[in-house]
């Protein structure tokens, strides 16, 4: 090749870091220019004094990368990682998060200014917002770092203690200030700072307690989890439960916040039935204590029977608490106390948090019971005691997290704000379902489908047709409630999947991608162009799709009052789909998918009917999508072709890959995280910039963790080899990625 003008790597790296910092400056900079002056935003974000700050950041990154060898031993010291995380969280709390919604941009600085000008507020608030926050923000991390660097245990303990004090102080001062000012406030800032200080305290404790030269964070976590499986869950549950029983609000009918004791005295002698009175008065404490003691005993004694007993007791207690919540709100609404018009209104967080706590303790018992059944030997290498301990720790960690997640999914949404409830049931939940479906096609069978949203559209329009919501009416015997439309919509989508798949599935990866993409666009354009006046064109369905109804004669329930009802319907659907797919993964079909994904020719040679197996993947994925379509259609009532644009197809692929291809939990986590992000960012960055930040998150995630959030075991093994060694140590000659079944 021609003359080589290659710069020394350090110069290239410096340029890259500086370039990155300029891009960052633009990303957080001023919003767009105009057609008269295109360069306005560019000038104001780059040709400004603050660019120096960003450039310094770039130089810092450069220094860290360049002197990695020098820095590494310090970074590996116990406590440094949590320290870095804590600083990031605190800085995010300061720069990004809102602290108080009613006030301007609601950031910390604005609130601090307001506090400084307000008299009569808690004196501590003046101190805190005046200088204490700054001192803490800079002093505590620096102090902790010094403690780690000079290995001074006493200093580390002091810093940890101070961090805890600051954490509590942040919460208290913020709560008092907000209470003083009044107004509706859903800001996360103080909570984030609270968590940040607690992580900082954790860093201090780790530094003070550690005997090791270098930190092995993952090994430590796994050791903790494997020590007494279920123990972390039990501890967490007990803490949550105490919070719920003593501090939390149980009922807030008139803006007053009644704790459990207050609620009990409010309802004494009001004709509340026996069980509810007992629960409010003493039974809640007793039940919680029994469950907690049972759980602790089960975990400590490693007893299977006790573990299951804990789970059962927790379930019974949850039922009792739920009944109580129903009874008190029903009574309050009956007697016109507060603003409630029916049961389940004006509840505080207390009852729900107690439910989460009970569920968590019960889950701890179940984890313990499952662990000591002793039959589970996870696949992969488990050589020697250390290997088994490692695997036990890992599977316990995942199981614990999954169970805690279920507890949150069940009992957290009632305490969330209306916006989040709606977001959960319309966006997050539906896209989780779609991601699970696409995971079958992409993750398991290895077929790249870029038109997945088409099946979702088909499902939605089928529902609309069957429920009389389109200009073209079905024959009267076919007009159905949305719940009965589910099987038909699934069947239609299955058929569509087969029809698309049969001629095209013999195409190789990228051709299949473009064909499915084309199919998705064709379906959307048909919906827009409205042939035969079937779809009602870009305006969307002509009449609202009715809400689903269960009518068994003696009991009748109609969805539609709140988003919460849909959320629980969705949970049921999700649970069914997840259990089915979990079974499917290990089945003959699932193994056949893995085989064709790894090597299609070899699979065919071993007797797998590849076309049929691929078709099955397509059809199963499509039918999941159809199910999501029914749910979506009947929940929102009105929808139009804009809901089914190509971008959404691409986003679902991104969710699956982001979460970890081929892993069921990964797909759920990826979809949940990436659909949660835009709604979360809504409060934090300008609305127009949301897509930009999501793009940045995707990009950075893929650069640093291409296997996704929670990779499937089999996939991980493909990437790293069974021994799980460092993947970065590959020869650079291998410029082409090992071709994978896509």
């Amino acid at each position: 090749m021609n003359r080589r003008v290659s710069l020394p790597p350090a110069v290239t790296r410096l340029m890259a870091c500086l370039g990155g910092s300029v891009v960052l400056a633009m990303m957080v900079g001023r919003q767009q220019g105009s057609q008269q002056d295109y360069g306005l935003a560019f000038r104001e974000s780059v040709l400004d004094v603050r660019i120096i700050g960003f450039l310094l950041l770039g130089v810092l990154a450069f220094l860290v990368i360049t002197y990695r060898e020098v820095v590494t031993p310090y970074v590996r010291r116990p406590g440094v990682r949590p320290l870095v995380v804590a600083v990031l969280v605190l800085v995010a709390a300061f720069f990004l998060m809102k602290w108080y919604d009613p006030l301007g941009d609601g950031k910390f600085g604005t609130l601090a200014d307001a506090v400084a000008q307000t008299s009569g507020i808690l004196p501590l608030a003046h101190v805190f917002f005046g200088w204490l926050w700054w001192v803490a923000l800079i002093g505590l991390p620096v102090g902790t770092f010094v403690a780690i660097a000079i290995r001074n245990r006493r200093l580390a303990w002091i810093m940890a203690g101070l961090s805890v004090v600051l954490a509590v102080l942040t919460l208290v001062v913020h709560a008092r200030s907000v209470a003083f000012a009044g107004g509706v406030d859903h800001s996360f800032g103080a909570t984030t700072a609270f968590i940040g200080f607690l992580i900082l305290a954790g860093a201090g404790v780790v530094a003070a307690r550690s005997q090791e030269e270098t930190a092995k964070t993952r090994a430590f976590v796994e050791q903790v989890m494997a020590y007494r499986p279920g123990l972390p869950l039990i501890v967490l549950g007990i803490l949550l439960g105490l919070l719920a029983l003593v501090l939390a609000t149980w009922l807030a009918p008139r803006g007053d916040n009644l704790t459990l004791v207050d609620t009990s005295s409010l309802f004494s002698g009001s004709g509340l039935d026996g069980l509810a009175t007992a629960v409010l008065g003493w039974l809640a404490y007793v039940l919680f204590a029994v469950v907690a003691v049972l759980g602790a005993a089960a975990v400590w004694l490693r007893s299977r029977a006790l573990g299951w007993a804990t789970a059962a007791a927790a379930a019974l207690s949850i039922l009792a608490v739920l009944y109580t919540l129903y009874a008190i709100t029903d009574l309050a609404a009956d007697q016109g106390y507060g603003t409630g018009t029916g049961p389940w209104q004006n509840l505080g967080t207390g009852g729900w948090v107690l439910c989460i706590a009970l569920f968590t303790v019960g889950a701890g018992g179940a984890v313990a019971a499952l662990q000591f059944q002793g039959r589970r030997g996870p696949e992969g290498s488990s050589d020697g005691v250390a290997g088994r301990l490692h695997d036990a720790g890992r599977s316990t960690t995942i199981r614990s997290l999954a169970l805690f997640g279920i507890g949150l999914a069940l009992f957290y949404p009632p305490t969330a704000s209306g916006f989040w409830q709606q977001s959960l049931s319309t966006t997050i939940g539906v896209y989780v379902l779609l991601a699970i479906g696409l995971n079958v096609v992409i993750g398991w069978a290895g077929l790249l489908d870029l038109g997945f949203i088409a099946f979702y559209a088909i499902g939605s329009y089928t529902t609309a047709y069957l429920t009389n919501s389109l200009p073209v009416k079905p024959p009267s015997w076919l007009a159905l409630s949305p719940l009965w439309a589910i099987p038909i919509a699934i069947a239609v989508c299955l058929l569509a999947g087969v029809l698309l798949g049969a001629p095209t599935l013999r195409l190789r990866g990228d051709y299949l991608a473009i064909v499915t993409l084309g199919f998705g666009e064709i379906i959307r354009i048909i919906a827009v162009n409205n042939p035969g006046n079937f779809t009602n064109g870009p305006r969307g369905v002509s009449d609202p799709v009715p809400h689903p109804v269960i009518d068994l004669g003696f009991v009748r329930f109609e969805w539609g009052g709140t988003s919460l009802q849909y959320w629980y319907l969705l949970l049921v659907l999700l649970a069914i789909v997840i259990v089915l797919f979990y079974r499917l993964e290990g089945s003959r079909l699932g193994r056949a998918w893995a085989a064709i994904r790894e090597d299609e020719v070899a699979a065919q040679a071993s007797g797998v009917n590849t076309t049929r197996v691929k078709l099955m993947a397509f059809a199963i994925g499509a039918s999941t999508s159809g199910l999501a379509g029914v749910f979506f259609g009947s929940q929102v009532g009105f929808f139009n072709p804009q809901n089914f644009v190509l971008n959404n197809s691409i986003l679902i692929v991104a969710y699956v890959v982001f979460g970890g291809m081929g892993s069921l939990i990964g797909a759920i986590a990826g979809a949940a995280a990436l659909t949660w992000l835009p709604d979360f960012l809504r409060d934090q960055v300008p609305a127009e910039d949301r897509t930009m930040w999501i793009g940045a998150v995707l990009l950075i995630m893929m650069i640093f963790r291409p296997q996704g959030l929670i990779p499937a075991r089999r996939r991980e093994a493909e990437l790293t080899g069974l021994a799980g060694h460092d993947i970065a140590a590959r020869p650079s000659v291998q410029a082409i990625p090992a071709s994978e079944g896509v």
Binding site: Q31, F42, T504, V515, V657, I694, L699, Q707, V733, P737
Partner: protein, 315 residues
């Protein structure tokens, strides 16, 4: 007949722009076997980059003479190509090379490309504007009729676009088949590890491939922006169409991309309007459906595209 020719000319104009973009997809696919999903944003950046230069030179364009206009056209083409090349180079360094180094699964490249695409498109929107109707200054009479073919008029702009596209494609064809760099690209496409053993610097070759593809797309961005309007989301539809064109011709095959682009452009203009029947047939709103149906049919009956995959490896 004049209707038919009108739509044919429109199709050739659009098709030659598709072909320019499709070349970028096909080149990258040839050497890396992956779809560069952010390529459409490279195209978009070319329009913005060349606009800034052209705007700085001619202002609102009212006082530009004929000779100047020719120079400005060349300048716009070059600046668009340069912007595209720079963006494509950075894209490869940031979104692809780190993943290549750690042997990431193929889909991870796709996702990082999607991320980069979102980031680029929105960053350009944030920096310049998010309006959908930005126009280049009119420094020459683009609508002037040059000559007639069977009664259909051919405008100056159409000639410019087609000639520029053909020149660029010719240049690329020579480059890939005749130069040392071209040989390196073909060797890498054929078998990267072996090419590395034969002394081809794989990283450098891949980087240059991105630069070449980016330059073509950037030039196409300039042409597209001159012909229509440009915005930060303009890349999406032409990008998809160009990708389809690349697949149509046989992805990884350079001449295939040219033919695929032209064919797609012509077909999507001729078929939905069916100008030979005299009346509107199924209507212009089905353009995209026709384009994709043709694509699907061709792939079903000839699964490796029209010319097959010559540059890339089969399977």
């Amino acid at each position: 007949m004049s209707d038919f020719m009108n739509y044919l000319i429109l199709g050739v104009t659009r098709g030659s722009m598709y072909a320019l973009i499709a070349l970028g997809y096909t080149l990258v696919y040839g050497v890396l076997q992956l779809i560069n999903f952010a390529h459409s944003e490279v195209f978009m950046s070319g329009a913005f980059g060349s606009f800034l230069v052209v705007h700085a030179v001619v202002g609102d364009g009212s006082s530009t003479s004929g000779v100047e206009a020719v120079l400005v056209l060349g300048l716009g083409l070059v600046s668009g190509a340069l912007t595209g090349a720079v963006i494509a180079y950075v894209l490869e360094r940031v979104a692809y090379r780190p993943l290549r180094k750690r042997g990431a699964p193929k889909l991870a490249f796709l996702i990082s490309a999607i991320g980069a695409s979102f980031l680029l498109s929105q960053l350009f929107g944030k920096l310049f504007n998010r309006l959908g109707n930005n126009r280049f200054p009119s420094y020459f009479n683009a609508d002037r009729t040059l000559f007639h073919v069977f009664g259909a008029r051919v405008t100056l702009l159409q000639v410019i676009i087609v000639v520029a596209a053909l020149l660029l494609m010719l240049f690329l064809d020579r480059l890939v088949s005749g130069t040392k760099l071209g040989r390196g690209i073909r060797a890498t496409a054929e078998d990267a590890p072996t090419a590395a053993l034969m002394g081809v610097d794989i990283d450098r070759t891949i980087s240059r491939t991105f630069i070449i593809g980016g330059a073509l797309a950037g030039a196409a961005g300039f042409l597209f922006g001159t012909a229509f309007v440009f915005s930060n989301t303009m890349g999406f539809i032409p990008g998809i169409k160009a990708f389809a064109a690349a697949v149509l011709g046989g992805i990884g095959n350079i001449r295939g991309a040219m033919i695929g682009g032209l064919l797609l452009g012509i077909a999507e203009n001729l078929i939905p309007t069916a100008p030979w029947t005299g009346t509107a047939w199924i209507g212009i709103q089905w353009t995209d459906v026709v384009a994709f149906v043709i694509l699907i049919l061709i792939l079903v009956f000839r699964p490796t595209g029209i010319l097959g995959e010559r540059l890339g490896r089969a399977a």
